[in-house]
């Protein structure tokens, strides 16, 4: 297991002009959380041109279904993306989750309304706002998400100016 490789994926996705939003552990770190994460989580737009770019962006880094047995006839191509929605992938550059929809946030077009722009790795990218991130984590509802919510809510309190 390798650390989440934000330094690779953020510039790479921007270079390929992919419409994406940073969510999950990466968004938590961007907002100031002291959490760790082992994968990169992006919500991506399902616009046809974006799907084509998503095929190209993984060229040379051997995307494969994370946790699946080796040797499956998995090919990262347009048809694969069109017939799926959320993908948990492993690559030679680390793990990445590509989400067409996310619980509590909907799709890219719905979630982009709840983002702010941050400068990361030389790129201005969309990151979900802290209140939205808390909402997404609450909606996911797994124990690890609820632990994350506890920290994010404290972070929210710390960011709020004291009267």
């Amino acid at each position: 297991m390798n650390p989440a490789n934000f330094a690779y994926f953020i510039p790479r996705f921007t270079e390929f002009r992919i419409e994406f939003i940073l969510i999950g552990g990466g968004a938590s770190i961007a907002h100031g959380s002291a959490t760790t994460t082992y994968d990169v989580d992006f919500v991506y737009s399902r616009k046809p041109e974006n799907l084509t770019r998503l095929v190209d962006v993984f060229e040379g880094i051997e995307p494969y279904l994370r946790g699946a047995p080796k040797g499956l006839p998995f090919v990262w191509e347009l048809r694969t993306i069109q017939s799926g929605l959320n993908f948990t992938l492993t690559t030679t550059e680390g793990d990445i989750d590509l989400l067409g929809e996310v619980a509590g946030g909907g799709n890219y077009e719905q979630l982009i309304e709840h983002c702010e722009t941050m400068l990361l790795f030389g790129q201005a990218i969309s990151v979900v706002t802290l209140p939205t991130l808390i909402h997404l984590k609450r909606s996911a509802g797994r124990p690890k998400d609820l632990i994350a919510v506890a920290e994010l809510e404290v972070l929210q309190q710390e960011r709020t100016p004291k009267p």
Partner: protein, 72 residues
């Protein structure tokens, strides 16, 4: 669910968060990277140690067995 969250909130280290809030988003990622590289180095060191221990154990078993073979 809220009780569960509240229970964890009490254990959150606010000093870490305050320190992070003084950084830019990029600096927060740089800090994360440095920490995770440290974690990976520790993990690799642990794996090397376990391999060495396994090799040592194998050698001890062989060393213990060889004299008894020679005595036959």
């Amino acid at each position: 669910m809220d009780d569960f969250i509240k229970a964890f909130e009490a254990g959150i280290d606010r000093t870490l968060l305050r320190e992070n809030l003084r950084l830019t988003p990029q600096q927060r990622f740089d800090k994360f990277d440095a920490f995770m590289h440290g974690v990976m180095e520790l993990k690799q060191a642990g794996e090397r140690h376990r391999t060495q221990q396994a090799l040592l154990a194998s050698k001890l078993i062989v060393d213990a067995a060889v004299p008894s073979i020679n005595q036959r």
